[in-house]
Symmetry: D2
Subunit: 288 residues, 4 copies
C-alpha cells in the first residue's frame, strides 16, 4: 500500500510520433516530479500512442491546480492528445446500483471495508428494498428509486441529482436489472461499469445463463464493460470463464456464474479506481 498519496496520474493517447515519450517524461523530470510508474504502448495498426505515468508531487514545481492547463497548452495541443489527470489524494467517488442479488454487492463492500480499494462509496441506489439489509450491515446509505415504465425519466432525474450532489465520479451496476437511459449514459461517458453474466458478445441481453444452457456450451463466462448506448456493446474491461459439463443444471450455471461475476466485476472496478484503463475506439487499453 502506498502511503504518500500526493501523486498525479496522467493518462493520454494521441497519434504516434517520435519523441512523445521523451517530452512527457522530461516535462515531469525537469519540474522535479519523481516518476513512480510509467507504462506506454503503441498500437502499430492504428498508429496510436498510449501512456500512463504516475509521479510524486512533493517537490513538483507546478502547483497541482495548474498542471492540467500547463500540460494541455504545452503538449496536448501540439500532439493532438486526449488526456486525463487524476490525483492520488482525490479518490473516485462510487455509487453502486443493485437490484435483488447480493453476491457482487457483498464482494465489493467487503473489499471496500477491508481497505483494498482506494475510493469512497457514499451510497447505494436500488430499484428494490431487498438489499437494504446488506447496506445497513456496512453502514452505507441506501436509496430506493422504484422505477416503472411510467416514472423512469423522473426517477432517473432524481438519481442524477443525488449523484451530482455527492460528486459521484463512477457508477457500478452490480447486477442492476434496469436499462440505463441514454441521458444518464451521456452524463457519465465510460464512467458506468456493468457486469454482464455471459462471455460477451455471446448471449447478449436477457437471461444469458438460460441461453447458455439451451445452447449446450462447455464454458460459461462473465464480462465487465463500460456502458454505452448500444446494449452490452461497450468497451470490455475484463472477462473470465469457468468450465461446465452436461451435468450442470441451470441452477449450477447460475451458482458458478455468480463467482465469476463478482470476481470479474471487482477486477474491473479495481483497474478503474487505479486509473489504469484508457478507452479508445470502443476498446480498452489496460495498463499493468
Amino acid at each position: 500500500m502506498q502511503t504518500n498519496k500526493n501523486t498525479a496520474q496522467l493518462l493520454l493517447h494521441c497519434p504516434d510520433r517520435p519523441g512523445i515519450l521523451a517530452e512527457v517524461t522530461n516535462f515531469i523530470t525537469i519540474n522535479k516530479g519523481n516518476i513512480l510508474h510509467l507504462s506506454q504502448y503503441v498500437d502499430r495498426v492504428d498508429n496510436i500512442f498510449f501512456m500512463r505515468i504516475e509521479w510524486q508531487l512533493d517537490d513538483f514545481f507546478i502547483p497541482r491546480e495548474k498542471i492540467y492547463d500547463y500540460f494541455n497548452t504545452l503538449y496536448a495541443q501540439k500532439y493532438k492528445m486526449s488526456f486525463e489527470l487524476h490525483f492520488g489524494d482525490e479518490p473516485p467517488r462510487i455509487a453502486i446500483f443493485v437490484s435483488k442479488m447480493s453476491h457482487c454487492l457483498y464482494d465489493m463492500l467487503a473489499r471496500y471495508s477491508a481497505g483494498e480499494w482506494d475510493c469512497e462509496i457514499p451510497f447505494i441506489i436500488s430499484n428494490h428494498e431487498d438489499m437494504r439489509q446488506v447496506a445497513d450491515r456496512f453502514g452505507i446509505p441506501y436509496y430506493v428509486f422504484p422505477i416503472t415504465k411510467e416514472n423512469k425519466a423522473e426517477m432517473e432525474e432524481k438519481e442524477m441529482e443525488l449523484l451530482r450532489e455527492h460528486g459521484i465520479t463512477t457508477i457500478i451496476l452490480a447486477r442492476y436489472m434496469q436499462i440505463i437511459s441514454d441521458r444518464m449514459i451521456e452524463a457519465y461517458p465510460n464512467r458506468i461499469i456493468n457486469i454482464h453474466h455471459s462471455f460477451l458478445p455471446a448471449f447478449i441481453g436477457a437471461k444469458p445463463y438460460h441461453q447458455a444452457y439451451e445452447r449446450g456450451v462447455k464454458i460459461i463466462g462473465a464480462t465487465s464493460h463500460y456502458v454505452t448506448k448500444e446494449l452490452d456493446a461497450g468497451p470490455i474491461i475484463e472477462q473470465d470463464v469457468v468450465r461446465i459439463t452436461h451435468k450442470d443444471t441451470l441452477e449450477d450455471l447460475v451458482m458458478k456464474g455468480k463467482d465469476l461475476e463478482k470476481i470479474v466485476l471487482s477486477r474491473a472496478v479495481k483497474k478503474d479506481i487505479e486509473h489504469k484503463i484508457l478507452v479508445y475506439n470502443n476498446k480498452t487499453v489496460i495498463f499493468s
Copy 2:
C-alpha cells in the same frame, strides 16, 4: 493402453424409469460379460437416462453379431431407447478434410502416428494442393477435389463415393474452408466434427478472429462441434479459451488461436474415437 480389444461399448438414452441401470448391467453380467466401465447420468430436467457401458466379450455368451438384435428386442423397445453398439476391435475410420492450414493436421497425424488414437485414417481430402506435403510425410493418401461454386454437387458426390468405398465412419474438418452441403451432413449425422475458431456462439461465420479483434474481447476461444445444417450451431463437444490483451494484434490472435484449435479439436476427436459422446437435443453428454 488397453491390449485386449475384444470389447463392446454400448451407448444409450431413453426416458428415465426405475430399474433400467439394473436391467442393463444384469443383461451383461448374467451373460458372463466382464464390465470394464460404466457411466450413467440422468437429466432431471427432461427426465432422460443416459448410459455408457463397456465390457469384455471373451466369455460373453451372446455372439457379437447377435448382441445388437438381442439388446434391441429385450430392452431397447421396452424402454424406448436410442442406442449405439461399438466393438473395440473395429476402430473408427476417419477421413480428414483440410484446406491450407497445417496446424490441426500435423497435430492429428502426430497423435495418430504415435499411437495415441485407436483409429484408422485411410486418407485426407482437400480442396487445395497445399497440404499434400504433410500427407506425404506421414504416408497417407491425399485426394484433391477442387470445389468451385459450379462443380460443388458433383465434387461432393465423388467425395462421398470415396468415403463409402473406404468405409469411413467419421469426418474431421481440420480447418476445412468449405460449407458442407446438407446432403453430406444427412449422410453423416453427428459424424462430422468441425473446429470453429471462436468461442461459439460468439463470432459465428467467417473471420472470427477479425470479429474478436474488432470487438476488443479479453479472451478468445475455439469450439469443436458436430456439423448440422445450421452453420456453427451443431452440438458442442469441447471448448477452450486463452487470455489476450490490448497488445495482441490480429496476427497474435491467429497464432494463439491455432494452439487452441488443435488442442480443442484433438480432444473432441479422442472422445469421439472412444465412443464417449452421446448427442441429445442438440447437446452432448460426454462420459469420462
Copy 3:
C-alpha cells in the same frame, strides 16, 4: 433449490465386486425410496467401488433412525464397506476459525447470509479481536481464544468444549494462522477444512507468496484440503490458479491470491456441506 429436505444421503466405498450397485439401489427402491441422485465410480487401479446416493424419505419404509443399522447389517458388513449416512434436514454445523484477514470470512458469510449454503454457522472462533466487527455485522457470535505457546493446550481444550456444546460437525480454517494440534485433528478426522495459499505441494508452510515470488513462478494457486497431522499434506479438495507476470509485486501476488483463496475455499465448503466428498487413501473422490 430443493424444498423437500426429507432426504437421506449415503456415501460409501468398499472393495469392488459385481452387484454392489444393484444391491444398494435395490435396497432403496424396494423400500419405496425415491432415488434423486446417484453417482458411482470405480478406481480400477486399487479396485475400490465408490458411491453416493440420495433419496427421498417420504414413503421410505424404514424409519430414519434405523436406516444406519439396517444398512450396516445387511450390506456394509457383507461388502466390507465404509459408509456415512446424512439427512437433508440435519444440515452441517460449522465453526469458522479466523485470524486477521477478512476476505474468506466475508465471502463465506455473504453466501451463508444469501442462503447459498444449507448449513448452520453458530459461531466464529479467533485468536485475535480483529474480525469481531465482521462477525457483528452478520450477527454471529465471536469468541476469542488468545492462543500463546504456553496456553495452547488449555485454549484448545476450551475451544473443543465450545465445539462440542454446539454440536459442531465441521471446522473451516479461513486463513487461521495457528497450527491445529493433533488432538483436535483426531477429534475431527476429515472434518477440518483449510485453505492454503499456494498450489500444493509447492510452497508448503509459511509465507507461500514470498516463496512463489522468490522462485519466479508464472502462475500462483490456492488449495483447500482436509487437515491431517502432517502439515499441508491432507487430502486435497479443490485447487485453482491465476496467471502472474514479472510485473507483479509481492503485494500483487497477495491481492490476486486472496481472490483465489476465497473462491477455492468456498467451493470446497460447498462440496462438503452437500456431502459430495469421499476421502480414501489421503485423496478425495468428489461427486458431481
Copy 4:
C-alpha cells in the same frame, strides 16, 4: 510476419537511474534508426531497469558490426548495463535434444515447417534411435549419442563439437531424459530450454505425474525453464495447467500432460527465438 529483417534487437538491464530510457531511445533516433518496438519495465523492489528495443537498420548511421562496441562504450559502462544485441536476419540456430517421446518434437517441427518460427534447426540429437523416423519425415539430420554412465563425458564432448561446428545458439530439451552436465550448461548459459512435466517447484525430479497422482492434486502443470546446474531450479519461462479429477488415471495424467508440455515448451521457444526474455536473479522478465 515481418518481411524486412534488417533490424536490431537490444535487451538490457541495469540499476535504475533517471534518463536511461531517454538516452537509449535518443541514441537510436539521432542515428536514424526507426524504432519498431519498445518495452521497458522497472523492478521497484530491486530498482532494476529492464528494456527491450527493436529498430530498423536501413538508414542507421552506425554500421551493424560496430553497434555493439559503440553502445558498450557510450552507455553500457556508464550505466553498468548487462546487454545483448541481436539482428533480425541472423536467426537463432537450434539443436533439439530428444529421447523417446514424439509429442514435443512433432509440435516443434510442425511449427518450424509451417514457418511459424524464425529460426534454423540444423539437426536433432538423441540418446536413442526411436525418433529418427520423425526427423526423417521432416528431412532433418538426426544424430544418436548413446550415452551411458561410463561414456557420458566423452559423448557430451562429441555433442558439443557438433553444436560448435553448426554454430548452435540454443538447445531445446524436448523431453530429453538425461541430466545435462555442468560443463555443457556453462557453455550455454540460459541457452538451454527444458520442459518439465510438472508445475514447478512441485514435483521436482523423476516421474512427476506419478508424484501428482499419488498426492491427489486436482490440477497438473508443465513448466519450461532455462537449465541451470541445480535440477529443475532454473529461471521459469512459462507454465500452464490443466484440471484433473479423481477419475483420471496415471495414463490420463500422462496424456493430458503431453498437450500441456508441447504448448508450454513451444510458447517458451517462441519467446526465446524472438529475444523477448531477459534473465535476472534466476527469474525471467518476458516482454510482450
